[in-house]
Symmetry: C2
Subunit: 218 residues, 2 copies
């Protein structure tokens, strides 16, 4: 029984890692459409979205089965309930990547927009946060989880700065308003991905410490 | 044992209802600041946010305890796992209300902005969706959950329309850009509240039917 439970828990971890790798790939693909004008990434992003949707349902059902069959307690139960929440966050990250891709496709009809370097930097940071938060979660690595919380402040700062720059751009040139607005919303999508990674990192700390760190940072 | 479990389940439901009522109150308060320039609502919203944060931790710990002590299965286990997710959605709705309030406070320094009637209509619809989705969840009412899914399409439409109107306003008058952008972001906050209500409605259908309706509508 114990051995079966451990095997199933490993399956859960691997499925979470697979889902997180897909979400990271989708962020990279959305940025390829936006910054490199690589339209072939659009089809890939939609394939990956399908896979994420299937994995989301699969992870919930693994969690349900693990609890129903093995009645885990304490740390293991916290891990599984946290996985249910982490699963929702991973799926919403993938949704944000699709939103970025949609705006990127519209921007393809316009001249190459300004400030793409900052967007690309934000995407790299958000992507790193996805990887680190999931790693912290499955490995119950509290220090790495805390690193993610710090990176989120950095991402919020970048978002504030690019919002101001884009606002100034809009005010200077009315012809740039639609384009700048799209980029501003892309920056917000990336900032939201960071928020989801932060949620996962907070879950990781809760699993290990049994202490809820949500709302203590605010 | 059975009786204790039912009592605890009732506590869980009441706590979810309390949290949802607070999130609804916060939406109303944020709209009071924005549309009626009622600054006394600002303090109330922050008090309510504190209460929501406490309830969020309480609900997670009730769920953990219910599973650990009573080993529920089938529909009851689905209900409790769904409550863990619903809890996260309720808290994020409250966050969106705080975001609206922050933008409303900045807008107080400007002349009364245009298009507030539409924002106020969107807020009423989003608020109704919060109430209905939570009601559908705790009462396992599938028909009501399906109504919420339909209302979400309506809210998305309203968001698209106001976004276009605000964009036109920005292009016509550069002096209105900051103000119109703030309102556009408020509309998106309301649309996100609708998304969270939709998640809760989908959870409700899953609890009753054991069928995952996520991603089938897209």
């Amino acid at each position: 029984m114990e051995r079966h439970f451990d095997e199933q828990l490993t399956v859960l971890k691997h499925t979470l890692i697979k889902m997180s790798a897909l979400s990271e790939a989708m962020i990279a693909e959305a940025i390829q459409v936006l910054c490199e004008r690589n339209t072939s990434a659009v089809a890939r992003i939609h394939e990956h979205e399908e896979q994420v949707n299937h994995l989301q349902i699969e992870i919930d059902s693994i969690c349900l089965r693990l609890i129903a069959l093995y009645q885990p307690t304490a740390g293991d139960l916290r891990f599984i309930l946290g996985a249910v929440k982490t699963n929702a966050d991973l799926e919403r990250m993938a949704d944000q990547a699709v939103n970025i891709c949609n705006k990127a496709e519209r921007l393809l009809k316009e001249p190459q927009p300004k400030l793409l370097a900052t967007i690309s930097e934000m995407a790299a940071l958000a992507s790193l946060m996805v990887k680190e938060s999931l790693h912290a979660y499955v490995n119950r690595a509290v220090d790495q989880a805390r690193t993610v919380l710090l990176r989120d402040d950095q991402l919020d700062d970048m978002n504030r700065r690019i919002t101001n720059d884009l606002l100034a751009l809009m005010q200077k040139d009315a012809g740039m308003i639609q384009q700048a607005l799209d980029l501003l919303l892309v920056a917000r999508n990336l900032e939201r991905i960071g928020d989801h990674a932060t949620n996962i990192a907070e879950n990781a700390i809760f699993v290990v410490k049994g202490v809820d760190v949500r709302h203590h940072r605010k």
